[in-house]
Amino acid sequence: MINILPGIDSTSAALNAERIRMDVVSENIANVNTTRGLDGKPYQREQVVFESVLQAQQNSDALGSAPQTVQIARIEKDQRPPIMVYNPSHPDANAQGMVAMPDISIPEEMVDMIAASRAFEANLAVVKDARAMAMETLSIGKH
């Protein structure tokens, strides 16, 4: 198939991946105080792992020199232990009155969110320019 917009496959995959990353960040922030998840344990922070995928190319057999798209390889649980907070009146407090709270730092999540949104914007700029280039190419030979 003819690809009129150059690089659009990489870009759309990246926009998708960045959006998933943003979803994971928002999930982390939403669960900052969750002491009892589905498994009965405090919520564990999650993070995404990106990996590049070689784009199918008809006339290029040289590995590594074809355009690459990106995808989320997996969403990993952060293994850091929960923070113990003294709060004896909490329903999830243990015998010593300590509650296990998820170790999520809001500033850390915000930084991750800003990085994701900047990467998203950079990819949008690529689409914008790809479109402008295609329109220019289509106008070759016109007066």
Binding site: P6, G7, I8, S10, T11, A13, A14, A17, R21, F50, E51, S52, Q55, S60, A62, G64, S65, A66, P67, Q68, T69, V70, A115, R118, A119, A122, N123, A125, V126, D129, A130, A132, M133, E136, T137, S139, I140, G141, K142, H143
Partner: protein, 126 residues
């Protein structure tokens, strides 16, 4: 005979450079897509294309110009200042994206101009 209309070295070279900018745009799209991928190495148009095209233009042989072909390659010059081994720098990449865009505009105008001159020569009207 009609082939000769479209085989001026300048016109062919502008066409090749246009191919090159489209390919470079794909490379930049790939680089920006993988800006957060660990161990990703940035791609660019292989520097050998530029030297090949320059040589072909100096000979002025249309066949030789037409036979040059831009290719993507891993940019070995790019160094990584990052802990994850990725060699993409967002700002540099955005600069290259803009630069490439301007080059594309220039080259479409060169191609258009070449065709326009032919049309003027054929019809005698501007």
């Amino acid at each position: 005979m009609i082939d000769a209309l479209f085989s001026q070295p300048n016109y062919l070279a502008a066409k090749k450079m246009l191919d090159c900018t489209v390919l470079r745009h794909e490379a930049i799209a790939s680089n920006l897509a993988n800006v957060e991928t660990p161990n990703y190495k940035r791609l660019d148009v292989a520097p050998s294309f530029e030297t090949q095209l320059q040589q072909a233009i100096t000979t002025g042989d249309p066949q030789q110009i037409a036979s040059t072909q831009p290719e993507l390659a891993v940019d070995t010059q790019a160094t990584s200042g990052r802990a994850d081994g990725n060699t993409v720098l967002l700002e540099t990449e955005m600069m290259k994206l803009n630069q490439n865009m301007v080059e594309h505009t220039l080259e479409t105008q060169l191609v258009s101009g070449a065709l326009q001159k032919l049309r003027t020569a054929i019809t005698g009207q501007i």
